[in-house]
Amino acid sequence: MIPSVTGTPAERTVRRRKADESGVGRTKWAVTLLVLTALLTVSATAGLAIGSVRVPPGQVWGIVTHALGADWQQPDWSRARETIVVDVRAPRVLLGAVTGAGLAVIGTALQALVRNPLAEPYLLGVSSGASLGAVSVIVFGFTLFGPASLSVAAFVGALGALVLVYATARTGGRITSSRLVLSGVAIAAVLTAVLDLLLLTTGRGNEARAVLAWTLGGLGGVNWGTLWLPSTALLLGVGVLMVQARNLNLLLAGEEAATTMGLDVARFRARLFVLLSLVTGVLVAAAGPIGFVGLMMPHIVRLFVGGDHRRVLPTAALGGAVFLIWADIAARTIAAPMEIPVGVLTALCGGPFFLWLMRRDARRGTDRGVA
């Protein structure tokens, strides 16, 4: 097919160089994954150790392995400590990891699907849609789907918001950054206003206060019984996205080009919108809307491993998990005994990051004439 120049010196050089460099790329990726996995272990340990009652890391591991059924350490801790680590902190750390990983992969996929580096569930109003859905369930007391009602409603809200933002932002087959972010902000504002209205007019004062705290994003209040749903959603999301990673790559080339390389773009996008809304809905129902993790992680990760989704997705998941565990540790300790909503902290980091990204893209855009 392609003119073959087998074995010319030039080509042999090419092949040798390529072998070296993809080897280096793979090594770098492997090292990044390894470092992040180590960091995740350290972070989880810290998450279990730090708090009003400090538990030494060694004891944390003793308690954890004991709870998992491996008795290589004689229990030398109190029952209260065991309860704190296993029943209070462990679900919280796990939810932090699951939510962070989930938001990071959602952000990664969303940026490819709408072909815009500023895409993120919180900024696009998807999280607000999910919140509104979830809050409606609480206020109106729908329980059609039993304990999963909250998640189902959050999913519906998220999907509605995403479709609305996408349809508003898209003109002539293109989405410019400014339109995307503006319609996201506008729709988020409307949804949040409706949500506030619901909370203010509902007769249930205490509930409203609880919900208000939840809408700021927080990982408290989780227990082993409610953890399975977000975990399942994360596994489903990461699984499907990893299978579709090649197709996500194609979208980076543009919609027309992706079609010529065999991707049915409209159908692919519709399906992934549903998936991403599902995962966002479940995560928001569990942890409240937590912003900017999905914006920051993909971009930071791309600096290290490049743009190939087969590498970005798993790396971003690990990075997001580590980040949110630490954000939650900070949220619990900075103003102890008061707890700061973790969403406030992620916004503190993410806002400036967003501004930096916007300016960087504006600079690049003028270089290349890309809107």
Partner: protein, 266 residues
């Protein structure tokens, strides 16, 4: 290097009409590219070249008529299956994400890969050969979004080559290229055993490199045939509205168009 072992594709466009609102972009166009031929589309801006190509690589569905690729209706095949036969270099492309040139070219392998299949040494080899064919080997590890327009264009052609198509469709592939690379890219396309359909601005390049030309004007085919047979001063006056002389180049033997300004230089 014909890893798929397939022969070049026959393309048959039958009475294709394409409208956008009330406007006719393409009106009842029929066109054939025989296996292995290099067929050029020429015509002024807005004559419907890009729109016609889009109906072939399946981005704009014709309102009437059919696009047949080796006898199959291109619009009835699964997108992925068509992408194993037809590759395209389109005009719009933008990537805000950090992909290396090699990764961009490797995208072309996608329609041949299972969802979880990794990249094999054969894939890497095809990517290398594709880069070599467009003289872009030295760019392999550069970030794609830092390349110049011409370098990008060559990389996108390499990506289409890595797709191992038997029909290659290109929309103005020489745009942004300097003269040396215009010639080398067109020579490369010419050497391919693949059937090639391409839109070109430059009539002299089209006349030299294409086996046959279709001249589009207002969405219709006004002339078609071997360049030497159809490129006449009358046609150029009618289609482009300019005065031109057509001679046969003494060394290449191809028709050579010289446009004459309306006011002779004093």
């Amino acid at each position: 290097m014909t890893a798929t072992g397939t022969t070049p594709t026959e393309l048959r466009v039958d009475g294709v009409t394409l409208t956008a609102g009330a406007r006719h972009l393409v009106r009842d166009v029929s066109l054939t590219a025989r296996p292995g031929e290099t067929v050029g589309l020429v015509g002024p801006n807005g004559s419907g070249k890009s729109s016609l190509l889009r109906t072939v690589y399946r981005v704009l569905r014709p309102d009437a008529g059919q696009v047949r690729v080796d006898g199959d209706d291109a619009w009835a095949l699964p997108v992925r299956q068509l992408a194993r036969t037809v590759a395209a270099v389109v005009q719009t492309s933008a990537a805000d994400f950090d992909l290396a040139v090699r990764e961009v070219v490797a995208m072309g392998r996608t329609p041949h890969k299972g969802l979880l299949a990794g990249d094999t040494p054969e894939d890497a080899d095809l990517v290398d050969r594709a880069l070599l064919a467009v003289d872009a080997v030295h760019l392999a590890d550069r970030p794609f979004d830092r390349l110049s327009g011409g370098e990008r264009q060559r990389v996108l052609i390499a990506r289409a080559l890595a797709q191992q198509p038997t029909l290659l469709v290109l929309d103005e592939p020489t745009n942004h290229l300097d003269i040396r690379h215009q010639l080398s890219v067109l020579s490369t396309l010419r050497r391919l055993p693949t059937t090639v359909l391409l839109a070109l601005h430059d009539l002299n390049l089209a006349a030299y490199y294409c086996d046959r030309l279709y001249v589009l004007h207002d969405g219709r085919v006004t002339a078609s045939g071997r360049p030497a047979d159809i490129l006449t001063p009358q046609l150029l006056a009618e289609v482009y509205g300019v005065t031109a002389e057509v001679a046969t180049h003494p060394r290449t033997g191809a028709p050579q168009v010289t446009f004459l300004p309306e006011e002779p230089r004093s």
